[in-house]
Amino acid sequence: MILIALIAGIGTLTFGGWILIRLMERNESLWTFPERISISFLIGSTSFAYLLFLGNIYLGIPLSGGGYFGILLVWIGALLLMWRYYCKHRGWNALPIKVRFPKFNEKTQFWQILIMAILGIWTLLKLTAGGYMLFASPPYFYDTLLNWNMRGKIFYYQKAIAPIPYTLTVDLDSYPPTVSLMKSWLSILMGHWSEPLANGIHLFWLIAITILLFSFIRKRRALFPSFLGAYVLLSLPLFMFQGVNAFADVFMSAHIFMVLFILCDAVSAPTQNLRDAYYRLCAIALSLLIFTKNEGMILYGTILGSAMIVSILVLRKSKQMSGESMRSALLWTASSIFVIGMPWLLYKVSSGMTFGNAKPLSGMSFMFQPNVIKTIFVMTFLEGNWHFLFLIFFGLLAIRHSHLSKLPLSLFTGVTLLLYSIQIVLHVFTSLSIEALIQTGYARGVIHIVPLIVGSVILLLFPPPSQGVDSIKQPLMERENR
């Protein structure tokens, strides 16, 4: 029964996301099947949570079974109707053209296959153990008990986005309700509050980000480096541990990575139509960041949004983007952010909610905290969180910095470094330093961007294939001809 509810719950949201992606693709086909499924799941689940929020807060629709299914049916129904209309009247292809990863002139060696098999089996073993804990063990950690699962329970039993009924020192109700709404949704399908389902969905976010990282590398490198990227990500102890526990940081990292993933594809797109489609979807992914965690709006949305706008302007200036495409991309970005951001912003302001993660922005002071530097150093290099990842990352940046002059690696790694630098600055110069000193904040911020770091490491470590796919004009995929 749990399996059926899980498949039905995640499947329907992924289907909704899939249709939404098709509408944005129009008559193009952007991704391979694994990428499409992962992005459909991420966009679909967060979009559905956003619609639930709109329906409950602004329209008073109760979050009962009827409310959930009603909103779901209206959402998917509208998407299907639009899709049918465009297929019938605009001649769009109903199904996407099959897209494959490029075949580089590099044959996978036997020793590489052997290593992939051994490390793959070991990684599956770890995922199985972690997944078992997620589905079978009760929730344990503070934020799960107080925030993510607690709010999911409240939404389920109150049938509304209701506040936590206890006085707290932290304004947890100010967090976007996305993660908790997903838990509530899956429990609705079971007919009762279900801990296994409420916790189990986190495994799918972990799998989604892993697939996206693999795909991002696979489009630019051969199979072996791509596999290594996925293996390295899942071998990072703290990332894996967070991914198999009911915390929202891996969920956040998946959305951040998705935005940059799509943006890099947009920048590398070989045709104008493909680029337009990528930017439409990037706009939606960016605006959905607002509805993930508080830092999705304040920190990551701002930086990634700026990167997106800068990329549009640079492409326009180098005449690789027409004026019409530029206006369309900017319009999509502005309107997506407005449609998703404004209702959420209005709700927060009218409810007197704070902006910030753990600490409200309004109360944040700026002062140099020298002790934090040592703590950050220890947490980065001397604890069991990341193995030698940061040593390798900084080492490769020093040795291979000449590779950073090419798009999209320069964009990808540049944004990664910028986000990491901001993390350091926030913890060293603001009252978030306390979170670093007591080791409750800094590492969690790094989790948000660690897939970006792993991606940068692999792309820097392995030279591009002879076709030079780091060039922005080189097609990343092989598409079937119709």
Binding site: L119, W122, L125, K126, A129, G130, Y132, M133, A136, S137, P138, P139, Y140, F141, Y142, D143, L145, L146, N149, M150, K153, I154, Y157, P165, Y166, V232, S235, P237, L238, M240, F241, Q242, V244, N245, F247, M379, F381, L382, E383, G384, N385, H387, F388, L391, I392, Q439, T440, A443, R444
Partner: protein, 387 residues
């Protein structure tokens, strides 16, 4: 004749050296131990006593700081610098003492030690102190103990131990594979594999918030540093490809070793949950450091339903889990408790149920109307329903 690769030669040579060293070192340097035994009236060393009485008795050296802080100092004539000092105490009061050590003629350094006083139950209390991690210990010539006023301590023995290099290496290897229990802070950071050099440190590796051990990553960085130097020399000899292969191989092996260790830790967490919680029947389940709390809450929630309730426990750290597990039932505050139908008492030391059936706190204050215990879970743990 095929030329032997220098890389292979170095690896083989290195293993031969390491193996020989671990074998021969054990014959040359055995584990060393010096014990000051105070049982049966024995006084192994000359002590200077100040501010307290010291009597040699059958069950050890009896120190009593009656009127003021007292101290006992002796010259430490040891043939080695001890790694660990072990205090074995008999019947003693619970107190905080100071270990004193230093060079002759210099001010003594102090190390705070907590005496639990478990010797009162007839079992010796053993306190292991990893002194080799303390600055200034290796040069110390004097050793002693200071007690606060009122402290009453019996010392059965003081043992100074030193492990040889081979034993430290083996302890370090064992500690590498020593796995921690999951803690509330594990979601924020993971200690990773730690290196403890002596058995007492390894046995208590993850018991303290800050482990008395160092991260294996420090060794990793030394290995990587040596490898980089070696690879640089290869590169200078125009063997760049070999240098890159060596560096990548060393990094990969280190990474895989760490992944193996941390992966086993993750699997061990799942196994521990299965062994202690998931495979047990509901009455015997223990969930991580919560013990039987989750089982008690599960059973109580079935009875309480969504009715408001009062929760009383000596352990306030349970509140967050309690509120989550009980929801949709809401915990009432002290001001609202008069209207509560259910009271969940979890390991609350003070007797609560009055002879007439009403609930009272340890000071005799009436908490609830008359009722009855409807579910008893253990000592001082029950669910009470008011009429």
């Amino acid at each position: 004749m095929k030329r032997v690769s220098p890389f292979c030669a170095i690896i083989v040579w290195g293993f031969l050296v390491l193996f020989s060293w671990t074998q021969f070192a054990s014959h040359t340097f055995a584990r060393e131990e010096v014990t000051w035994n105070f049982l049966s009236g024995n006084i192994p060393e000359r002590f200077e006593l100040g501010g307290m009485s010291g009597t040699s008795e059958e069950d050890g050296l009896h120190l009593h700081a009656q009127a003021e802080e007292g101290r006992m100092i002796a010259q430490m004539r040891l043939p080695f610098a001890a790694d660990v000092v072990t205090l074995t105490l008999g019947k003693s009061s619970k107190t905080e003492a100071m270990l004193l050590f230093g060079k002759s003629g210099s001010p003594l350094m102090k190390l705070l030690i907590a005496i639990q006083g478990s010797g009162l139950q007839g079992q010796p209390e053993r306190i292991d102190l990893p002194m080799h991690t303390i600055d200034g210990w290796s040069a110390a010539e004097r050793f002693g103990i200071a007690l606060p006023r009122g402290a009453d301590v019996r010392i059965e023995s003081i043992t100074f131990s030193r492990w040889n290099i081979r034993e430290k290496f083996l302890e370090g290897w064992s500690s590498f594979w020593t796995l921690p229990d999951m803690q509330a802070y594990s979601i924020n950071f993971l200690w990773g594999p730690l290196i403890a050099l002596t058995p007492p440190e390894r046995l208590k590796l993850f018991l303290y918030k800050t482990p008395v051990a160092f991260s294996v990553l420090m060794i990793g960085y030394v290995v990587i540093g040596c490898t980089i130097i070696f690879c640089a020399s290869l590169a200078i000899c125009k063997r760049t490809r070999a240098a890159v292969i060596v560096l990548i191989t060393v990094l990969s092996l280190l990474w895989i070793l760490l992944d193996l260790r941390m992966g086993i830790e993750l699997i061990n967490y799942a196994k521990s949950d299965y062994d202690a919680y998931l495979s047990q029947d509901k009455t015997n389940r223990k969930f991580r450091n919560y013990g039987d709390f989750y089982s008690v809450m599960e059973k109580s929630s079935e009875i309480i339903g969504s009715a408001p309730f009062v929760f009383i426990s000596d352990d306030q750290s349970l509140n967050i889990a309690m509120r989550y597990l009980a929801y949709p039932a809401i915990e009432l505050t002290a001001n609202e408790s008069g209207s509560a139908k259910y009271w969940l008492i979890y390991r609350y030391g003070a007797p609560l149920v009055h002879s007439d059936g009403s609930l009272m706190d340890g000071e005799g204050k009436l908490l609830s109307k008359k009722g009855e215990i409807i579910e008893k879970f253990g000592t001082h743990t029950f669910l009470y329903r008011a009429q």
